[in-house]
């Protein structure tokens, strides 16, 4: 997928004045947060499970090579095949070859973020194979030529009215005067149209929430059941997954399942959790004849053993997006690449290079809500700071910001000078503000004061007050 992460500021400027987006984002701020909290209140062991989930993922990452080899052996033992891809191009090529060998004309797809990462849809389409997204949200955005704006709710940036408009435009075989007022009608229309596509597809591609090493099993979690139709009806099932998705055994998948749905949608469990081990077996009345797993590295391995390793614990629940004040304000597309929100702000620089995503680690107030809700306790604010440091060291940060930081550093490391400057500054600002007590405009800070007033200092500095009261 092409990135516009380097244009974050332009993306944000557009997002903030997009009335549909702003209307749609209200649902993120309200529904997700309350439901998650209710689910967690109902499970006293939740915090202990988060610790255990963190420790389990750390264990796996420290032995990732061994678990991947074990997984590969067990997939083969059940008649499936593992394909390794170091780059998106290798993954695309592998999938295209499998589809070509099967003379595939259409490919149904369950939701896969790694699929977005490697741009599989465009690649298949360019080679004459039609990819069909089947998750309702993914289907809607595919019709609109958009990308997902949220890891578990890909169409969260759209209002119902926009979905209706899209269906009327694309589903031209239906009565143009039909009533699409009720959301159920939209759902049924998509269900009906996609059912036929499921039946005729030659290949089904899904992602994976977990890869289970000791049995060679892949796992998907969905609410719609689209992933199951995608992987059961066609002759060939291709699973596309990042190498970090490994767990040792099914009981470890069980641990992560206990924190996944609760963190994501606030459900105890998503409606469908499906474990797949190899192709159809003798006597089976359904299931695919071929079972392929494509393992993608794409820069993940180089994070191991570094200060960025912990982001590989991510189980893609979306809780950090749902709780982020920046995401609430600008939505997912502003981040400019596959992964949005706080996890996107640390993952995107890792996968496409900090030089191509310099503004993303700055897109945070470091409030820490993301870390406080992360089911595997990824220290996202710490990593945002690591990326800021790296951007600074590599001179990717803008000249103005570098000068301002240098000035700040000069002051902050000289306490006497700092107190003198802040003391004078506080008094001057208070005098200038007069009775109003705040500034509507300030030189050098117009971008800030354009949207809000700056309150003037109300008295002496903290240090001055502290000394006088001691």
């Amino acid at each position: 997928m092409q990135s516009t992460s380097h244009l974050f500021k332009d993306n944000v400027a557009r997002a903030l004045v997009d009335p549909n987006l702003q209307q749609a984002l209200v649902h993120v701020r309200t529904k997700f947060i309350d439901k998650r909290q209710d689910a967690i209140n109902a499970l006293p062991e939740f915090e202990a499970l988060r610790d255990a989930a963190r420790d389990l993922k750390n264990h796996v990452l420290s032995r990732l090579d061994q678990y991947l080899v074990q997984f590969e052996e067990n997939v083969a033992r059940h008649g499936g095949q593992v394909h390794w891809a170091q780059t998106p191009a290798e993954a695309r090529q592998t999938i295209l070859e499998i589809c070509r060998r099967a003379n595939a004309r259409t490919v149904t797809k369950g939701k896969t973020m790694v699929g977005e990462e490697i741009g599989i849809n465009d690649h298949l389409a360019a080679n004459g194979i039609e990819p069909i997204e089947t998750d309702l949200g993914e289907y809607i955005i595919q019709l609109r030529g958009e990308t997902p704006s949220h890891v578990i709710a890909p169409a969260v940036h759209l209002t119902k009215a926009q979905v209706e408009e899209t269906f009327r435009k694309v589903h031209t075989e239906l009565d143009p005067a039909r009533n699409l007022e009720e959301p159920e009608t939209l759902l049924n229309e998509a269900r009906h149209r996609l059912r036929g596509r499921f039946i005729v597809a030659d290949v089904g591609i899904t992602g994976a929430n977990f890869l289970i090493a000791d049995s060679g099993t892949t796992t998907i979690v969905t609410n719609e059941g689209n992933g199951d139709l995608t992987q059961t009806l066609p002759r060939i099932h291709i699973v596309l997954a990042g190498i970090e998705k490994i767990v040792p055994s099914i009981k470890d998948a069980g641990l992560l399942l206990r924190v996944l749905a609760r963190s994501a949608t606030g459900q105890e469990m998503s409606a469908y959790t499906t474990f797949s081990t190899g192709p159809r077996r003798p006597g089976d009345l359904d299931g695919p004849d071929e079972f392929h797993v494509v393992l993608l590295d794409n820069g993940r391995s180089k994070l191991l053993g570094t200060e960025f390793e912990e982001m590989l614990r991510c189980i893609r629940c979306g809780a950090c997006l749902n709780h982020c004040p920046i995401y609430h304000a600008v939505g997912g597309h502003a981040y400019g690449w596959v992964y949005a929100g706080p996890i996107g702000a640390i993952t995107t620089p890792a996968l496409i290079g900090i030089e191509n995503a310099t503004p993303l680690p700055e897109a945070s107030s470091l409030c820490g809500r993301c870390e406080s809700v992360c089911p595997v306790r990824i220290p996202i604010p710490k990593m945002l700071r690591h990326w800021r440091e790296e951007a600074f060291e590599r001179r990717l940060t803008g000249t103005c910001a570098r000068w301002a930081l240098a000035l700040w550093a000069a002051l902050a490391t000289r306490p006497a000078l700092y107190r003198l400057a802040t003391g004078v500054g506080a008094r001057v600002l208070r005098l200038l503000a007069g009775r109003r007590g705040r500034f509507a405009t300030l030189p050098f800070a117009s971008a800030w004061t354009k949207h809000r007033d700056l309150p003037a200092p109300q008295g002496r500095t903290f240090m001055a007050q502290y000394r006088s009261r001691k």
């Binding site: 062991e45 499970l49 610790d51 255990a52 389990l56 750390n58 264990h59 420290s62 990732l64 090579d65 991947l68 080899v69 059940h78 390794w84 170091q86 309702l136 949200g137 709710a153 169409a155 209002t159 119902k160 759902l187 049924n188 039946i199 049995s215 099993t217 609410n223 719609e224 059941g225 689209n226 199951d228 139709l229 059961t232 190498i243 009981k251 470890d252 399942l257 206990r258 949608t265 459900q267 105890e268 469990m269 409606a271 469908y272 959790t273 499906t274 474990f275 081990t277 077996r281 006597g283 089976d284 009345l285 359904d286 590295d297 391995s301 180089k302 994070l303 191991l304 053993g305 570094t306």
Partner: protein, 217 residues
């Protein structure tokens, strides 16, 4: 040129070593929730409660012979066609369906033309009200997904309290192998993709009805 496999595994090993990363011992799979640790009667009550919370409907049969009548009544109450596709499982096909003369019964897999399926269950998990369905000759996977209405007969003796119990049952039944497909099903199909409002019946069944066969009560 080395294979992608060797390059990836090599990069993993090199980076772990370069970072001084020691292999960590296996830390276990976390605590088993207290709520699931119940005697059998409590498990049954918890299962029924959690399944309802996930928008499944439930019935309890006290004898296997009651099942055909319960199914006929369910279909009538929901204005559904009296037409069922029964999984080719002798425990289901062997029921006395002739007791329901208005019910059209066929057995086998499905191509999507059947409005109602009736299947068994390998087990279920009381902790979250979740059914555990395994694939095999008597239990084709598509019966769980293509029909608009899915009726599941669950023997109370097969119920698990927690996921830990379910994994142990799987191991006892399948050994080191896994069935080709294990479906954990918690309520009917749904989507929240339009303005985060939950709607039932996205691609899988719109209705999930569970008949708990409890011959002890």
């Amino acid at each position: 040129m080395t294979s992608a496999r060797d390059r990836i595994l090599g990069a993993i090993r090199n980076n772990l070593a370069a970072g001084g990363r020691q292999a960590e011992a296996y830390p276990g799979s976390g605590p088993e929730p207290q709520r699931a640790k119940l005697p059998p009667a409590g498990q049954r009550a918890l299962f029924l409660r959690m399944a309802s919370q996930a928008a499944a409907t439930t019935d309890v049969a006290t004898a296997r012979a009651e099942i055909p009548a319960l199914i006929a009544a369910y279909l009538k109450n929901h204005n559904l066609p009296a037409q069922i596709r029964v999984a080719p499982d002798p425990r289901l096909t062997g029921l006395d369906w002739t007791s329901q003369p208005l019910l059209e019964v066929s057995s086998g897999g499905t191509d999507g033309s059947h409005p109602v399926s009736v299947t068994g269950a390998f087990s279920a998990v009381a902790e979250t009200g979740t059914l555990a369905l395994t694939s095999g000759a008597p239990s084709p996977t598509l019966l769980n997904f293509l029909p608009e209405n899915h009726i599941v007969v669950l023997d109370a003796k097969d119920l698990s309290g927690s996921y830990e119990d379910l994994w142990a049952k799987l191991k006892a039944q399948y050994g080191a192998e896994m069935p080709r497909t294990l479906n954990l099903v918690t309520g009917p199909s749904r989507s929240g993709d339009i303005e985060q409002t939950i709607l039932m019946g996205a691609h899988g069944p719109k209705r999930l009805h569970i008949i708990l066969l409890d011959e002890q009560t």
